[in-house]
């Protein structure tokens, strides 16, 4: 453990944005109103696949209060996707609609009611086309084509290390199974929305709740055909992200086009039903996994064949697949691996990033299968995993550099906390405990060719320290974490910190808040900026105190010579002195570049893209009601290797939130889609956990010290969710002897499995 004599690092400092949020003063994009603002609404395809024969806008245009009605003919024709080489979507469908929800037209009107009424007056003649909903069916040569291409397989990914087949022959036990996960909705409490405003110089400002304002700006420029310099993206507080707001959705360009038409700001907001039935989802994975080990328990070979239901358009499919494959490889450092995957178009809502980014799907499969492997090897699940540990300061066979690694400790502390040995020794009927491990990136990834950040610090003459950072807070506490880092490095009190972060005109270029990268990447930049400002501060203070700057201590907002705290000067006075007597302000710049190992190549590199890894173990205790099939999760212990926890309460909050999402993933959540139509389009029927459903959660922060993270910290945003489902499903096996290979595990499935179980 490092020297923990910190002023604010590791302390449970209240989040700096808490008070405006708890008083209702905090504004979210959905709360914003601009003068002259119009309301936009979007007409969406009711068919999963159809030709658009005719669109008649006359009646809509004639409705009093309607200011514009637009379709494909009225907007730029550029195609778009997150990966431009795979661009396949226009702002509006031109000749063909490809899923229920595909954008056909839009209106801008003086109020919401009028906009909705105008939509009803748009007449569209469709010719329904054959549609395909199942990815395996979509792969068949005679399947209906979602896009005008040879087949529905839009992307393939293949990666192998060693020789899996040869290695399987050396294994004493081999397991081979199919695992299934489905489409899930992010369910951010604030639905997605934006306001677009053009100005007379042709500039566009988009107020939008986005996790990645700078990339969103580029995306808007691409699809609208505008120069990037003309676009400004402004965030407010965000009512949740979880990956849903990483890639632009068409509301932004549509609102922009309506604003251009009307010369007024235009707001578009999804209703909750619209959010469930048309917004992007978690990618469903069909996973055929094979794993083999020697009788001593060494895992030699692992193979995955993954079919991903892409939905109707491209988004983060390739990136999530690549990331899933990386975690598949790193966990337990299996020397022979093969990962073959494909993305398949179907006529459904398409997928995007969702907390965990492919890892929850693959970890569900591999960690459940590992339990089966353990059983067949007659080993305790923990014992098997201990024989295949990832170790600190190691390099995996695939080239992943692991620095800090708390895997062993995570397993040990969580086993103790849940009472693993006692409960396995004396099992109670219909009760069980299970576990799962996970590895995840603790710092985003370089595979977009970029993992660095800038930050700026200025100190005002009243002592206020302002940090300008691109670390975006979507509720995960990034702003507070950055403030703590600056306060610690500079030596000032938290109360003097202000964080500015929400405007692309102001903040440095950055990829956004995702991939658990903000703490590591932006935190390091903030630390460097604070250090830079501190240098200037002590230089001036040295003059005032007639001392060598190197002998000065900055603590609690005052500066003094080390060992003589009696004679100190407040930071504010130093700045005033600097400004008035020396004619110079005090500020700092931080430029952090996450460095790859020498010789590594961003474009060709694979696992070398990940600066550091986070590890975790979760253990679940469940009780199954064999009569109703209901699975009650009694307790979850979550032991997470977070590096140094900059704000322990905040880190716990992230993990607890992730665990409950994982609990929902395991037992409750699934978009029920029939013939391309979502049947559960409200919280009434898409159940997410409420306060009465949740298990007892115990979080243990295993604080390894990451050598490269700011004050030793690593990212914690996503890992909370990854091991939960397999831990619960493994606990269910322990309770009733049934292995489930499809999520969610519903009472119906439990009852059927118990009924069909061989006696």
């Amino acid at each position: 453990m490092m020297n923990k004599d910190f002023a604010v690092i590791g302390k449970n400092v209240p989040r700096i944005d808490s008070i405006p949020k708890v008083t209702g003063e905090a504004r979210y994009t959905c709360d914003l109103k601009l003068p002259g603002m119009l309301w936009g609404a979007i007409l969406r395809s009711p068919h999963p696949h159809a030709k658009i024969l005719r669109v008649n806008l006359e009646r809509a245009k004639g409705l009093t209060g309607v200011r514009a009605v637009i379709t494909a003919e009225d907007v730029p024709q550029n195609r778009f996707s997150f990966i431009q080489a795979l661009a396949d979507k226009n702002i509006f469908c031109r000749e063909e609609a490809r899923y229920i929800g595909d954008e056909i037209a839009a209106v801008a009107a003086v109020d919401r009611d009028t906009a909705e009424e105008a939509l009803q007056l748009i007449e569209v003649e469709y010719e329904p086309l054959p549609a395909v909903f199942d990815p395996e069916a979509a792969m068949a040569p005679d399947a209906p084509r979602v896009h005008d291409r040879e087949n529905n397989i839009v992307y393939e990914f293949h990666k192998s290390f060693g020789e899996v087949d040869k290695a399987f022959e050396l294994c004493d036990v081999v397991c081979e199974d199919r695992y299934l996960t489905h489409q899930l909705a992010h369910c951010c409490m604030e639905t997605s929305n934006c306001i677009a405003q053009v100005d007379s110089s042709g500039g566009l400002t988009l107020y939008v709740n986005t996790q990645a304002p700078h990339t969103q700006r580029q995306e808007l420029a691409r699809i609208l055909g505008l120069p990037i310099g003309k676009i400004r993206v402004v965030n407010s507080n965000m009512g949740g992200g979880f990956g849903s707001k990483l890639v632009m959705d068409m509301k932004g360009p549509i609102a922009a086009c309506l604003s251009m038409r009307t010369n007024k700001p235009v707001k578009i907001i999804n209703s909750r039903q619209e959010e469930f039935s048309t917004a992007k989802t978690r990618y469903p994975y069909i996973m055929d996994i094979k794993v083999g080990a020697t009788k001593e328990g060494r895992i030699l070979s692992r193979q995955a064949r993954v079919i991903v239901d892409n939905g109707a358009y491209n988004d983060k499919g390739p990136s999530t697949l690549s990331f899933a494959s990386m975690m598949f490889n790193v966990l337990y450092d299996v020397p022979n691996t093969q990962f073959d995957a494909c993305l398949v178009y179907t006529n459904k809502q398409f997928g995007t990033a969702f907390r965990g980014f492919g890892n929850p799907q693959i970890a569900f499969a591999t960690e459940c299968q590992l339990d089966d492997l353990a059983k067949r090897l007659k080993m305790d699940p923990i014992e098997l995993r201990m024989k295949n540990l990832n170790k600190p300061n190691s390099m995996t066979t695939h080239g992943a550099r692991i620095t800090s690694c708390g895997m062993q400790e995570c397993m040990e502390v969580s086993a103790k906390a849940i009472g693993w040995s006692e409960k396995r020794r004396e099992p109670k009927k219909f009760r069980g405990i299970g576990m799962a491990n996970m590895v995840h990136s603790g710092a985003g990834s370089r595979y977009y060719g970029f993992n660095s950040n800038d930050a700026f610090v200025k100190i005002a003459d009243d002592g206020t320290v302002t940090l300008i950072t691109s670390a975006l807070d979507m509720g995960q506490g990034a702003q507070t974490t950055m403030a703590q880092i600056v306060a610690e490095e500079l030596g000032v009190k938290m109360e003097s910190l202000k964080v500015l972060t929400n405007d692309t005109d102001l903040t440095p270029y950055d990829l956004g808040s995702y991939g658990s990268r903000a703490t590591f990447i932006c935190g390091n930049a903030a630390k460097l900026a604070a250090r830079d400002a501190r240098k200037e501060l002590v230089f001036v203070a040295g003059e005032m105190l007639e001392a060598n700057p190197e002998d000065l201590v900055v603590k609690n907002g005052v500066v003094h010579v080390a060992g003589s705290p009696g004679k100190s000067i407040p930071v504010a006075e130093i700045v005033q002195y600097s400004v008035s007597k020396k004619g110079s302000s005090i500020s700092g710049r931080g430029h952090f570049v996450d460095t790859l190992a020498s010789g590594a190549d961003i474009t060709a590199g694979y696992l070398t893209h990940i600066p550091t890894f986070a590890f975790a173990t979760q253990m679940a205790e469940v009780e199954v009601d064999p009569e109703t099939g209901k699975v009650k999760v009694l307790k979850i212990v979550a032991a997470h290797d977070t590096g140094t926890a900059i704000n322990p309460v905040s880190a716990e909050g992230q993990i607890e939130g992730g665990v409950v999402q994982g609990f929902g993933y395991a037992l409750m959540e699934k978009l029920s889609v029939k013939d391309g139509r979502v049947e559960n389009i409200s919280f009434l029927d898409y159940k997410i956990p409420n306060s009465g459903d949740i298990p007892d959660i115990e979080t243990i922060l295993v604080e390894t010290e990451d050598p490269d993270g700011p004050f030793g910290a690593k990212g914690v945003g996503e890992p909370g969710l990854v091991p939960t489902a397999p831990a619960i499903v493994n606990a269910i096996y322990d309770a009733i002897g049934v292995r489930f290979k499809e999520l969610p595990v519903t009472p119906e499935q439990v009852l059927k499995a118990l009924r069909d179980r061989p006696r």
Binding site: E627, G629, L684, K687, S691, D693
Partner: protein, 291 residues
């Protein structure tokens, strides 16, 4: 929602006049937690909405001299849930009321509304049926029908043109009558996948002289499991008898597959919940004998 004309009569007489005038074009607004949801989803679009907000004399729980109770239709489910007087005499009612939605919903939702919405999953219906409750309906004339006959089909209740549900009358219970309601749902706040209520009268030695079992969400209306009741009436309950009643109830159920559950799940749950409510009635009886 579609827009509509909002009417707020100040008396029952005015209310009835409006109901009779607008017939199928009008809907009654009590708490709004069902009506407004359906209007927002586009499932209903009445031209006229008549609010009961200012109609006096519909909100009460009145204990009757004969031991029964009368509940005004506008009584909020929260007040039914928290009513000490109901808890002492008819505990299955506060129990069922507490299952509906969330506290916020229950402060607005009404016992009358829960029935008039006509959902086969209405939580208040099975216990009211088991208690032999009557619905007091008022229009141009007044009439009473058993709650059991109040439901006609999904979303349909036995209210004619110009009629509204004014009150629920619950008769006094025979001594040593115990009842309860249990519900299975996907999460803690949910519409019932299956709901089962029972009321059982016991004589000496655990002999059950009268049994009523009512099933919710497994038929087009709340359903009395008459054959199951027969198997449990006129005998002292053993485990085998309880099981037989439960099994029969699940056979009498007529569930469908929908987004909340399948036929298989619902039939299984009817059997399980029936058994559990019967056991609970028996336990209540034993507790009373011991005090």
């Amino acid at each position: 929602m579609n827009s509509f004309q909002y009417l707020h009569p100040q008396s029952i007489a005015e209310l009835i006049k409006l109901l009779y005038k607008y017939q199928e074009k009008i809907r009654v607004l009590a708490g709004g937690t069902d009506l407004l949801v359906m209007m927002k989803q586009g499932r209903l679009a009445p031209e006229y909405v008549v609010s009961l907000k200012d109609v006096p004399g519909l909100t009460y729980i009145r204990e009757q001299k004969n031991g029964g109770v009368k509940i005004g239709a506008m009584m909020s489910l929260r007040e039914v849930e928290c009513s000490e007087s109901l808890r002492l005499r008819y505990p299955s009612l506060p129990c069922a009321a507490g299952w509906v939605g969330s506290p916020q919903i229950r402060w607005r939702a009404t016992i009358g509304g829960n029935l008039c919405n006509g959902a086969p999953s209405a939580d208040l219906a099975p216990p009211l049926v088991c208690l032999g409750a009557q619905a007091f309906i008022q229009g141009k004339s007044k009439r009473m029908i058993p709650v059991e006959k109040f439901f006609i089909g999904p979303g349909k209740v036995a209210l004619g043109a110009g009629e509204f549900l004014r009150e629920l009358i619950i008769p006094p219970l025979a001594p040593h009558t115990f009842g309860t309601y249990q519900k299975f749902s996907r999460s803690t706040m949910d519409i019932a996948v299956v709901g089962v209520a029972a009321a059982a009268t016991f004589e000496r030695g655990g002999f059950c002289s009268d049994l009523r079992v009512c099933l919710g969400a497994v038929a087009p209306t709340p359903l009395r499991a008459l054959e199951a009741e027969k198997l449990g009436t006129g005998k002292s309950w053993t485990n085998e008898i309880i099981q037989a009643v439960a099994l029969k109830a699940s056979e009498e159920a007529r569930p469908i597959d929908d987004v909340r559950g399948t036929i298989f799940l619902r039939r299984t749950l009817v059997e399980v919940l029936t058994r559990r409510v019967l056991i609970e009635c028996l336990e209540q009886a034993r507790a009373e004998n011991q005090t």
